[in-house]
Assembly symmetry: C2
Homo-oligomer: 302 residues x 2
């Protein structure tokens, strides 16, 4: 099958090898006669804006999960599928587990200054309660990985309904849960209910020395309350991957703060390795007349 790739030049370097690895017969191109293509692999930062001449295209496979930038394009008549990348939840779980381990093992306590600090051995993971706010796909994958390492994990959701064997509490019980959350991971969506959920009062409930890890949404934590809380060790450290404004402005007080680690919204990104397989398989399905996965409903917009 002959496929047109329309995304940024930088993403071509990442995706082309992954797509070809996923299907060695794939004929993949960055340009050519529109009528000659069977499918389009698409991201909004590519060159195609008019889909009219792609008369033989049976599927436009988005590389992005969000399709709000293409779904309103009036020239779009071909079927459109959004990306559901199985690597995304795994990547998020790895990010959360990695930073949890950094906190848990006290890695930052070993300054390389010639002092042999072996007086205290870190406790085992089984003695380090971890709380995950949000038990959707990402929260569940993270809970499973942290449990495999040995941490006692408590989930918090709006309803508090148990999922996949995780001990889940409702948002109404959040205050109580926070008092024993040595590591607090934020994976809630941005809704009116979750905005500034971690405010000054709630942060003050954390145990002394707790870490907060937020790869969810920048709006979950009150920025000013966080800066104040860090002064008293509740929390002692925050690892932040998401922000109200991204990229985080150069003059923002989070940068360079000794108790804050900023990562640039990389906790859960679409991974070429896993997503390329999804894209190629979905195009094959369209070519063979099978039902396409993750098809966008143009009326709903997703």
């Amino acid at each position: 099958m002959k496929v047109r790739f329309s995304a940024s030049a930088a993403s071509w370097e990442e995706w082309a090898p992954a797509l070809r690895a996923a299907d060695s017969d794939l004929s993949l191109h960055q340009d050519g006669d529109p009528a000659s293509f069977d499918a389009i692999i698409y991201a909004p930062n590519g060159d195609i804006t008019d889909f009219t001449p792609y008369v033989n295209v049976r599927l436009i496979q988005s590389l992005w999960a969000g399709v709000e930038k293409i779904v309103t394009n009036k020239t779009l008549t071909q079927p459109l599928a959004r990306m559901v990348d199985p690597g995304l939840a795994q990547g998020m779980a790895e990010y959360c587990t990695g930073w949890t381990m950094r906190a848990h093992l006290g890695m930052d306590g070993y300054a390389q200054d010639g002092t042999w600090r072996n007086s205290t051995v870190p406790p085992l993971a089984s003695e380090r309660p971890v709380t995950i706010l949000g038990v959707g796909e990402l929260g569940r994958a993270t809970a499973a990985m942290l449990s495999a390492v040995g941490f006692p994990v408590t989930g918090v959701s709006a309803s508090g309904r148990p999922v996949d064997g995780i001990d889940v509490r409702s948002l109404a019980q959040l205050d109580d849960v926070l008092t024993s959350s040595q590591i607090l991971i934020c994976l809630l969506p941005d809704t009116p209910q979750t905005r500034n959920l971690l405010d000054a009062r709630r942060l003050a409930l954390l145990p002394q020395g707790a870490w907060v890890i937020n790869p969810g949404r920048g709006t979950l934590i009150d920025d000013e309350a966080l800066l104040t809380g860090l002064e008293s060790g509740r929390p002692a450290h925050a690892v932040l991957d998401v922000f109200r404004t991204e990229p985080l402005p150069k003059d923002h007080p989070f940068w360079g703060h000794p108790a804050i680690t900023v990562t640039p919204h990389i906790a859960a990104d679409t991974r070429a390795q896993t997503a390329a397989k999804v894209a190629v398989e979905n195009i094959s399905r369209a070519m063979n007349g099978q039902p396409v996965r993750n098809l966008v409903d143009r009326n709903k917009g997703y």
Copy 2:
């Protein structure tokens, strides 16, 4: 039961609460009439050197795995048990997994200098081959935890015999394995065969950017070869918990080296929480006439 605690003053603070938590009826003392005690909990840094007056003691439970400092004591006639702590392998696996995650996620690449570096997303764990030298109890526990996170794990042992489903190669295949070891974890014992196993030639086989994590034995790596290898990125970073001389001397070139992290032999220590349960249960067994676990054979010396 009435138990005499004989270890350092510092360890009393750590152990007394854990021992009492393990058995709420335990009568635990730091001194008293020797004839009144049923058992002794012992470490070589305590005050007892003459065991003769402890005529009613049915078990001396060591807090240490190694008993070479007590087994030669001529006043010792009571049964002696060494410590086999189930938390030790877990602690080692946590240490190795935590530092592997730090390497894997490229945590040290996010300087807090106001620069938003989101151009490269780390690969998933499934794309990051990890090699563990040594597949004894510690190596197997570490392999299991890393596999649970998603890393492809290869073990290396003298024989190469497969264990617990780990893909194991023999030491004869080590050179080949090293070429794809993005993270190399050293958990071999110190023997004439393993001394300086990682010499200049073998370190040069590692892929560019590899990390070496050594919580095994300080003698496994040639110190000079490591310093030279770090200059060319093979390895790119070394996390070292064990050294030829401990504590690591203040003027040693490992301290302060930008590509070396020194931790003070804390990767696998006896943990009060898990070991206290073992100690208390073993003393109960002795009191109730049941066979004692991990009894030392005075002739063999362990």
